[in-house]
Symmetry: C2
Subunit: 212 residues, 2 copies
C-alpha cells in the first residue's frame, strides 16, 4: 500500500519506518524540518520518500495522521482533498501541555476529526500503545501470543485496511466497534501511557485482550 505519513514525529516516524519495513510505499511529511524528513526516509529505506502533506496524500491509499492535536487543522489544510481516503489517526486530542484530553465522555478526538473530513473514512488506531514498544513487537512478529491493538471506525473497508496494517506490525488487531468507541479507546490510551511513563519500570508496555 502507498501510505502517507502526516506528522513525522516520534510516533509517525516509527510507524512509517515499520510500514516501510513491512513492504509498504511510505512517504514521510510534516516534520520540523526537511532534514528530519530526509533522515527518516533514509533510515527507513525500502523506497521511503519525503514530500509535502499534499504530495504525500495525493497518491496514497492510506493516510496516517500522527500530529499533535494542536496541529490537526494545519496539517489537514496542507493535505488538501482527502475524500474517499482511509485515514488512520493515532492523534489523541491532548491539551497543549499534553496533560489531559481536550475532549471525552460525550465525544472523542476521532469523532471530532471525522467531523472535519466527512468525506474521508477515519479509523482510530495506534494510540493505545507507546511508541517505545513498536520495534520490539515488530521484531517478535509471528511469535504467539501477539499483543493486541484495538481499533475502531465506521467504514468497513477502511477498518479492514487498518487491521491489515496492524497485523503487518506484529499486533493482533481487535475491532472495538464503531468510531464513537473512541470515547473509551482514547482514555484507555492514556491509561496505558500512564502505566508506561508514570509508574516506573520502563515504557515498553503492551497489552493483550483475549477470550479465555
Amino acid at each position: 500500500m502507498r501510505i502517507a505519513i502526516l506528522g513525522s514525529g516520534l510516533i509517525g516516524g516509527k510507524l512509517g519506518a515499520l510500514f516501510a519495513r513491512a513492504g509498504h510505499q511510505v512517504t514521510f511529511s510534516y516534520a520540523r524540518s526537511m532534514d528530519k524528513l530526509e533522515r527518516l526516509a533514509a533510515e527507513a529505506g525500502n523506497g521511503a520518500r519525503v514530500g509535502s502533506p499534499a504530495q504525500a496524500a495525493k497518491g496514497a491509499d492510506v493516510v496516517l495522521l500522527a500530529v499533535h492535536w494542536s496541529r490537526i487543522d494545519d496539517v489537514l489544510a496542507l493535505a488538501g482533498d482527502l475524500s474517499g481516503k482511509t485515514i488512520i489517526s493515532c492523534s489523541l486530542p491532548m491539551t497543549n501541555d499534553d496533560k489531559a484530553l481536550t475532549v471525552g465522555h460525550t465525544s472523542s478526538g476521532a469523532e471530532k476529526l471525522a467531523a472535519k473530513i466527512p468525506q474521508a473514512h477515519v479509523v482510530s488506531a495506534f494510540s493505545t500503545t507507546p511508541g517505545e514498544v513498536l520495534f520490539g513487537v515488530f521484531e517478535a512478529k509471528g511469535r504467539k501470543p501477539a499483543p493486541t491493538l484495538v481499533y475502531c471506525g465506521d467504514d468497513r473497508k477502511a477498518k479492514a485496511i487498518a487491521a491489515e496494517l496492524i497485523a503487518d506490525l506484529g499486533f493482533d488487531p481487535l475491532d472495538a466497534g464503531a468510531l464513537w468507541l473512541a470515547r473509551y479507546v482514547e482514555p484507555f490510551s492514556l491509561l496505558v501511557a500512564s502505566i508506561a511513563y508514570d509508574r516506573g519500570g520502563g515504557a515498553e508496555v503492551s497489552y493483550r485482550i483475549e477470550r479465555r
Copy 2:
C-alpha cells in the same frame, strides 16, 4: 479479612463467593430479597453470612461496593459510618439504562464516590473485567501469565488490601496510580465490556498489560 458485600447482584455475588473460597469471612448484603442473600451465602459456603448493609459494614475490614450507580446513595445511607474503612468499588457510574457513563473526562464515578464518603479510603477495582470470567480466572489461579486487573486509589494501605484481594482471585494486580486515574479506568471498563458483550464470541474476556 472480613469483607462486607454491599450489593449482592451479579458481580457482588460472584466476587463475594470467590472471596469466601479464597478464605475470607464474607457477609452478603443488599440484594432484592433476603432469600437471594441466603442462597448466595449457602452457595458460597466457607462461613459466608448475610446481614443488613449496616451489619455487614460494621465489623468489616473491607467493604466491596457493587451496586448499580442509581443505588449508591441508598446503600451508603444504609451502611452507616464507613470512616477509616477500605472501600473497593466496582460500581461504574452508569446511566439508568446502562448505556453510558453519567460522568467522565473531568471526573469519574470513583471520585464522585470518594467525595460522598471522605473519611473512607476508596479504591477502584474489579470494574474492568466481565463477571463471566471471574470463576475461570480463579480456577486457573497460579497458572502464568495471569490476567491483569488494574486498580487505583489515593490511600496506600487501602490499595495494598485491594491488591491482595485481586491476587487472591487469580489476577495480577496492576497499580494504575491515584484515584483520578479512574477517569481512564472507567472508560476502559466500558471498552472491555463492549468487546465482551457487543462483538460476538463470548463474554469471558480478560486482559493483560505487561512490560516486554
